[in-house]
Subunit: 498 residues, 2 copies
């Protein structure tokens, strides 16, 4: 308690942009233009939308130097990380071009009329997914590019055929303006409306946005409090809209006795790197580590932890982290193992967690470079804690060589984590979220407000579509993807067969 | 006003079962058993779950005589309709057996580790959909079988790998008890827990059910008021759950001038059959018919309407229908064209609807054998009304022979309806919902609370799944569907290719 941290905040430096809050009337006008742009996007062919996405990626890369410099001024994340984040963002835009060219995401399905169908005759029916309409995107503090204006939500919403209105995060307005300008140029270059991407500024503008009748879906990456407030607004509308919020995640990580006896040092090194990566400002940071009691793992982890700090994203995040680690460190049965300028580390017996149940301080997310070791005396204690773990983005198991089959302690832990998490890992660390076809970045509440969806990877496009069936339509009025001659060569399930 | 209708209610007849309301403690115990049964279902192979679904269908058919008799006593729907509904229900169970054997619904996706992947090296990642957990099903008044205990929600939830707890509709408790007994026998016959299907009775039990922490999703078919109240409870939980509600639908139907001049009598006959089918007690009943003004279509429709009535589902529905048609008939600018024992028919100028906007009485659903003709003077008036139509399950266009290409009045109407509806029809009527791969039974609010989902057809299974990614797992701990040797021969997308 009371030790001075050198972890500083740079987001509030002198050169920041102070953006004017967007008024309700301006939000209304912006959403009106987004609706018009959505109609253009929805009417465009998939080939043209794929071209649009690649043009957006090109435009982002063309301005990369200025964007990275602005983002570094506003977030202190450093040019190496930010250059990587820009590459990830443009990669993401191009991946969604491939997703819509592939076309499977539409689930195009044709059932021809059949007078002899069972249990009754059926008409000609053709179903596919269509764009949902303008999407509100609430950007994140910790990813000024990949989860903000040019991020995965924007990319997947546009790929699906919708314009986006991004509520800018207050931590990086200049970066957001530069990114929006680049994307608008990219849209224009591809012959699409500049209104394909628009921005609004300010908390109240965000609330207005998520309640606007023409907004048809929203996505969010941020805190439980902020995300839940917006989810409640979206669900409470006269016409509720889907709200895909990524809120908070504890990301439990289990180390089995076998794993520890085989490679404690290697695990300590990997874990120290993971929970302090980016100063712990990742939603997938392992925040609760289950380790066998009575070992020296805590000392090994403390030794492996970095000794130099850095600047956190902004003052609010820094003070929030300090408050949460103070609360953790001051809790009953919690031992402070390490508290330096760069990192803090705590431990707690599993029995204390079990005694308090789901309300234990062990399950409070601390967004920053800290983690909590929960020391278990037995497999029963391990299981009891895992049954209390709240919904999370990730859950990891570090297992011994002999534990790779059902029945092992590690396999049991994995099964319990799978019930609670969107991504489970074996002998790896959860920070670092690959942008691939198979990624799932989501999970049961409070990890997200919708455990069926992902905000990263190819399946993210499914959030921004709705389904329509066309009955007995003349071919000329059908979407191209549902015609018998299949002019866009999309995968079609025909009379039950794909 | 004041004319006596012979349409009676039979649900309140002397032989009804008065079921005891399920207490909160009983709901808790039932959900606990459903959670245990869900674990069994989730662990079962798709082959075994397909066998379970066919066993449920067999058991339902084995008891069909008693079930149909009970349903007829409780709902007055008649044995012909109810025998068909039972056949539809068992067909539905078997269709979902095919859906899970097909396996595409899982979206099994494998990305192998790739040290050279762009923009950064990636780990081994495998994603698929997994069962969500116990599902609460709120059954409908108007389909005592196909949208109740043995209906599509139950079939799709079990197919996905979840146990269901059905909140019985007060209109058919005896039918529900018989159906549950049959399904429990069918489950036992297939070696699955009887708790695969359970019942609760009473409005308060339903509220308790949708708020129970172990219930992971809910589905509902019924009124806007009832559905919205439950949606609000589901969304307001500490951990919100997805709520798939089918609430209310106006089902606009457009008749173009060309269609009318070509085949007015044929359309009148078809429409009269559609809006009075089952005494208008279908969620897809065409409740608002846009017709050219200054024709004799209203007279033709009145002539085509049936002259004999029948018994409505129950007294509450009958009195609700009378109240809604009284309100409609007494509204400004509404003309009563026909009001008999069997049917009522109204008309209103499009200009009046446009003047009142979205709040017009024209958009209030009247659940029963009635419809409203809205007479338009011009294509502009037609378009203006269509832009006000609320989200609906269906929208239909009756077009002339020359209107089957873009640019026609009919094509414009179809496009406007497609923005608002889950199913659009051309020269057909919306009552009758086929159970097929391509069916979409859903639509923008208030038709449903989730326009991406369907409650009928193969895609209904997607409501009761969530997504999990498995990173770097030993093969022996992966679900069978994600293994490289693909022992269950499921469709897999591997490294981006399906």
């Amino acid at each position: 308690m009371g030790s001075v941290l050198s972890v500083a905040a740079r987001g509030d430096a002198a050169d920041e942009v102070v953006a004017t809050e967007t008024s309700a009337a301006e939000v209304d006008a912006i959403v009106g233009r987004a609706a018009a742009a959505s109609a253009v996007l929805a009417a465009a062919s998939r080939v043209d939308r794929a071209r649009l996405l690649r043009s957006l990626a090109d435009a982002l890369e063309a301005d990369s130097e200025a964007i990275v410099a602005a983002a570094d001024r506003e977030t202190a994340l450093g040019t190496t990380r930010l250059t990587g984040e820009l590459a990830r963002s443009s990669f993401q835009l191009r991946l969604f071009a491939e997703v819509i060219e592939d076309g499977h995401y539409l689930s195009a399905t044709i059932d021809h009329a059949d007078a002899n169908a069972q249990p009754v005759a059926r008409p000609d029916l053709r179903r596919m997914l269509v764009p949902i309409g303008p999407v509100a995107v609430f950007s994140a503090s910790n990813f000024p590019l990949a989860f903000s204006v040019p991020g995965g939500d924007t990319a997947s919403a546009i790929a699906a055929g919708n314009a986006v209105v991004v509520k800018v995060h207050s931590g990086h307005p200049a970066t957001s303006l530069l990114c929006a300008a680049a994307l608008q140029q990219g849209a224009a270059d591809a012959g699409f409306p500049a209104d394909t991407v628009a921005l609004v500024f300010g908390t109240e503008a965000g609330r207005t946005l998520v309640q606007h009748p023409a907004v048809r879906a929203a996505s969010f990456t941020g805190s439980v409090a902020g995300g839940r407030a917006l989810f409640d607004l979206a669900s409470g509308r006269p016409e509720p809209i889907p709200f895909f919020g990524e809120l908070g995640s504890i990301n439990a990580l289990v180390i089995t006795p076998d794993a520890l006896s085989e490679r404690a040092t290697e695990i300590a090194t990997g874990l120290a790197g993971s929970f302090t990566l980016g100063l712990g400002q990742f939603c997938t940071k392992p925040g609760l580590v289950l380790v066998p009691a009575g070992t020296d793992f805590a000392e090994q982890l403390a030794l492996a932890a970095p000794t130099t700090g850095g600047s956190m994203l902004n003052e609010r995040i820094r003070s929030g982290w300090l408050a949460s680690v103070d609360a953790l460190g001051g809790s009953d049965d919690v031992t402070t193992l390490l508290r330096t300028a760069a990192v803090s580390l705590y431990s707690m017996p599993a029995s204390s967690v079990i005694a308090t149940g789901g309300a234990s301080v062990a399950f409070e997310e601390c967004f920053g470079p800290s983690t909590l070791l929960v020391e278990y005396e037995s497999a029963d204690e391990l299981e009891a804690v895992l049954r209390l773990v709240p919904g999370s983005l990730t859950g990891s198991v570090h297992a011994g060589r002999g534990e790779g089959s059902p029945g092992s302690t590690a396999a049991l832990a994995l099964a319990l984590l799978t019930e609670r998490c969107g991504r489970v890992l074996w002998n790896q660390f959860p920070t670092g979220v690959s942008v691939t076809w198979a990624m799932q970045h989501g999970g049961p509440y409070p990890a997200t407000t919708n455990a069926a969806s992902t905000s990263v990877g190819a399946a993210a496009i499914l959030r921004f579509l709705r389904a329509v069936a066309y009955q007995n339509l003349p071919a000329a009025l059908l979407p191209l993807e549902l015609r018998d001659d299949n002019p866009t060569a999309v995968p079609q399930r025909i009379d039950g067969k794909l």
